[in-house]
């Protein structure tokens, strides 16, 4: 066994209330098992997720951040998630600048009926972060809000 | 258009005419077929019945060679098509299998990354060459030749990536371009018995009989095949069928490439049309001019 596998990544999940959060609830209701590494924060729309929140999470000790919302075209607020996509691209560039692996922040679409998908997403993300190892980020000073 | 070409064991043996005609029509239509260097048997269903992983290894070696040549692989035997495609799919989906095969290939300095697509010649002709090109090459249309288009099992099953799994139409379409008249042939994708002829002949003969019966009932004068095993089964066992069921079938079978070659103006000899067990001479004389 190598050392990395003992590492349990800490993931902050920003879940939109309509689709992703409901989907995550469904995974639970259906008793689908997946690693309990994501702690969810409920937002009304993935469009509410300010890049600063994400950077703050990484700077404060999270090993990864998951943003999950409705599928494009299915947004409860017409097109909030389209803005999330745009913002996500900016976010990725910010990560590059800080030398943080892009894999640590994921944007996923999970509808209210996709409990299975949510579980799979968390599973693969956790698995991925286990391989990447803990995020030793000294950038706490650069990010302030 | 360049491809690696995988004839398969059957075409080296009893189905040389298929190989010959396939190469000839491909050349005519500007398809470059380069025989896959030192290919090995795909393993077919028999190998898979004894050894699973090594069966995939057989496919993987062929695919690895094709990948090295940087070309997609064209086959003419649907059994080879299914066997190679299956390994391709399963290696793609199953990480453990992929790794096992990859490390075995490594022992011979081979590697396969999964980039080769395996295609049947019929599909390439219909999808890549198309109606116009093929029609312009037709110099001797097979006007009103009534053909039963026979696909057999493994052309579209199990994957069905390019034609319907139950009622494929590609061969029908191609035959129409040649001027021939594909007859209604509801059993077009049913099983011919294949290997059962050797292992359980009575069951196999029953299947051949229903195919011949159906083709005859629908007015076919010959059966067009796209599979070497179907071809042999249909022609070599007609006598036994007639004996067992007191029937009197005399249905010539021709590879679809032979019919194409005929329409393109090649001679019977060039296409190996004199080599079949049930002569097509009379039928062709009746329908196709100046053969």
């Amino acid at each position: 066994m190598d050392l990395k596998s003992d590492f349990e990544p800490k993931i902050v999940g920003f879940l939109c209330r309509w689709c992703a959060y409901t989907g995550a609830d469904l995974a639970g209701t259906s008793r689908i098992k997946y690693p309990p590494n994501v702690t969810p924060i409920r937002v009304m729309c993935s469009g509410r997720v300010d890049p600063v929140l994400v950077m703050k999470a990484l700077a404060s000790g999270a090993d990864g951040v998951l943003i999950a919302g409705c599928h494009p075209g299915d947004c409860h607020y017409t097109n909030g998630n389209v803005k999330t996509i745009r913002r996500f691209k900016v976010l990725q560039k910010m990560l590059d600048q800080f030398g943080v692996e892009r894999d640590r922040v994921r944007l996923e679409w999970v509808s209210a009926s996709e409990g299975e998908k949510y579980a799979r997403v968390v599973e693969s993300m956790t698995e991925n972060l286990r391989t990447l190892g803990p995020l030793n980020w000294n950038g706490k000073k650069e990010v302030s809000s | 258009m360049e491809f690696s070409y995988y004839p398969g064991c059957s075409l080296e043996g009893m189905n040389k005419a298929y190989d010959k005609s396939a190469r000839l029509v491909s050349k005519t239509l500007g398809i470059g077929l380069t025989e896959l260097n030192d290919w090995n048997c795909c393993g077919a269903s028999a190998y898979m019945s004894i050894q699973e992983l090594r069966a995939h290894l057989l496919s993987a070696r062929n695919l690895a060679i094709a990948e090295r040549e940087k070309k997609d692989l064209v086959v003419v035997c649907p059994a080879c098509l299914t066997t190679l495609t299956k390994s391709n799919h399963y290696m793609g989906e199953d990480l453990k299998l992929r790794r096992t095969i990859a490390s075995a290939l490594k022992a011979a300095n081979l590697q396969y990354l999964g980039t080769v697509k395996v295609r049947h010649l019929l599909e390439v002709l219909v999808n890549e060459i198309g109606e116009q090109e093929i029609k312009t090459k037709v110099t001797r249309p097979l006007t009103s030749l009534k053909v039963a288009p026979y696909y057999g099992c493994q052309f579209t099953r199990p994957f069905g990536e390019f034609d319907d799994k139950e009622f494929p139409v590609m061969l029908d379409t191609l035959l129409k371009w040649l001027g021939a008249e594909p007859v209604n042939f509801p059993l077009k994708a049913k099983c011919c018995g294949g290997m059962l002829m050797t292992t359980n002949e009575p069951v196999g003969l029953g299947l051949v009989r229903s195919l011949l019966d159906c083709a005859t009932q629908n007015g076919a004068e010959c059966i067009a095949t796209i599979c070497p095993l179907c071809h042999i089964t249909l022609e070599a066992y007609q006598g036994n069928v007639n004996k067992k069921f007191a029937t009197s079938f005399e249905m010539p079978t021709l590879y679809f490439t032979q019919l194409m070659g005929l329409a393109f103006g090649f001679s019977r000899k060039e296409l190996g049309i004199n080599e079949e067990l049930i002569s097509s001479k009379a039928v062709l004389a009746r329908r196709v001019e100046a053969v």
Binding site: V12, A24, I32, I41, G47, R48, D50, D74, H76 | -
Partner: protein, 652 residues
Amino acid sequence: MAEKIGVYVCHCGTNIAQTVDCKSVVDYASGLPNVTVAREYQYMCSDPGQELIKKDIKELGLTRVVVASCSPLMHEPTFRRAVEEAGLNQFLFQMANIREQCSWISENKEMATERAKSIVGAAVKRVEFQEPLDVKKVPVNPNVLIVGGGITGIEAALQIADSGKKVYLVEKEPTIGGYMAQFDKTFPTLDCAACILTPKMVSVGQHPNIELLSYSDVTGFSGYVGNFTARIRRRAKYVEEEKCSGCGLCTEKCPVSVPSEFDCGLGKRKAIYRPFPQAVPNVPVIDRDRCLYFTKGVCKVCQKFCPRGAINFEQKETYADLQVGTAILATGFDLFDASKVKQYGYGRLPNVITSLEFERFSHASGPTGGKILLKNGQMPSNIAILHCIGSRDTNFNEYCSRVCCMYSMKIAHLAHEKTGARVYEFYIDLRAFGKGYEEFYKRILEEETIFIRGKAAEVTDVAQTSAERGKLIVVAEDTLLGIVRRIPVDMVVLSVGLEPRKDTTEIARIFSISRSQDGFFLERHPKLAPVSTASDGIFIAGACQGPKDIPDSVAQGAAAAANALSLIDRKEVTLEPTVAFIDEKSCSGCKICIGLCPYNAISFDESKEVSVVNDALCKGCGTCVAACPSGAIGQRNFTDDQLLAEVEAICA
């Protein structure tokens, strides 16, 4: 002054306690800053559970409350009410979901407990930053929009209209009635469908409280619960409804004859037509694509003969904006397209028909006047009915369509009664679960219908014996015998399943509701809120939520009506105050937010040179908050401070 926080950890029987060590979570919470009290209890949502909170608020002077239990989507309203009853503002409460997203997803007690602590920690930190908010109350518009005029929509419309409320019933087709109008008889009672449906249709047509908008569809839907605006497209009928008396002379005189959709293409209709004689409204429409005047510029025979001058070739489609407080979607279903399953030969082999086509044959006013006939005009002497076509099949729809077993047996009865034919049913499992259904099954068995347990693998016309010649042969394994049987018959009826309508995606988008994995509309809760959706004020009923038979559809139509009426009778609804707000001092006037808002809720105050949010229009998505470059916009109950508090607690 430091806050006094109370934390309550729920066991939910064993649902949480089995995988989460609640005691340890309570100990952890007790140690968190500002936590005055932390308790655990078997069922926090029970009365004694809620009492516990109320008592602590009063006796310990709690200023904040956190309940760690199920999803806020389940019990947030319950606890908010409890907190409010104890005199604390309901927004000073936060829920920590340690069931759906914690105890139920893990088998590892240690990890689940850690996760629960993290979730509770985040809630405790967050709740400190929460502020008291006032809920806004808005009046409910008593008008109801109902989309879809099948039996479900009809039932809902009549229930609501009878209570004195106004109903707008929007129907896509020229008439209401839906699929039920096409059926001959209904199971298990064998009532004639028309006999029980048409009186209801007439009531709808004549009801003073129902405004029927046929040949129309909804193209837009905006607003919020109690106050929606629906945009309706009214397609041109080229017949002026007010003038038309429904005499039918135009149809009689029209020279164009085309296949009738209502008769599944088995019968004919004219270019100006009513789908069937009892149509409501009793007004014909002109099929533009078939009409000689529209296609060739000649004819106008209908206009010449119309005694009332009701034909108007110049009519244009119009749009209407309707103000409603609630909406009920009863958009129904599509039938599975049997030609997708090639091996059954639908479309290739004559005399392979769908169940709906059989209904039309069997219907007294159908294309054959109620006779079951083969293509050659003869009566079949053997009929096979194939169950589960397109249903319970991973290649097509995985779900059971629920109605096919029963309607197949009804078809067996009708076929037997009308032709005397021997009838075979090929089934996988028989599902006769409703009231009187099992008895109906018995009755069909008594009629000597032959049930073969085995899914038909194919239908072929390739005969193997002389008995099979000229017949359709159904090939299936008789699984009770373990042998493959070939049954020659004259007619094959495919019992096709039910599917989400093709426009389901579009409708879901217009009404901002979700769909379940199978594509049907998603209900708020599968058991406890079957006709509600996640969007307040929007209800779903009938087969648009999932396959349903007539009794269930009617029950749901009535249920949705009751839900809508209950909302209307509350007179006013409260709105979540989670809207955006702008700090005028920080706003730089860049206007970025204005372009982002999907509801045009932000405007620019030219005099102050700042952006302003209109609370009534804002729906609280928070997109503007995340985009504001100067951090001037906040969202109530989702402020940056609150979210950052959560983030920090989780990451600590």
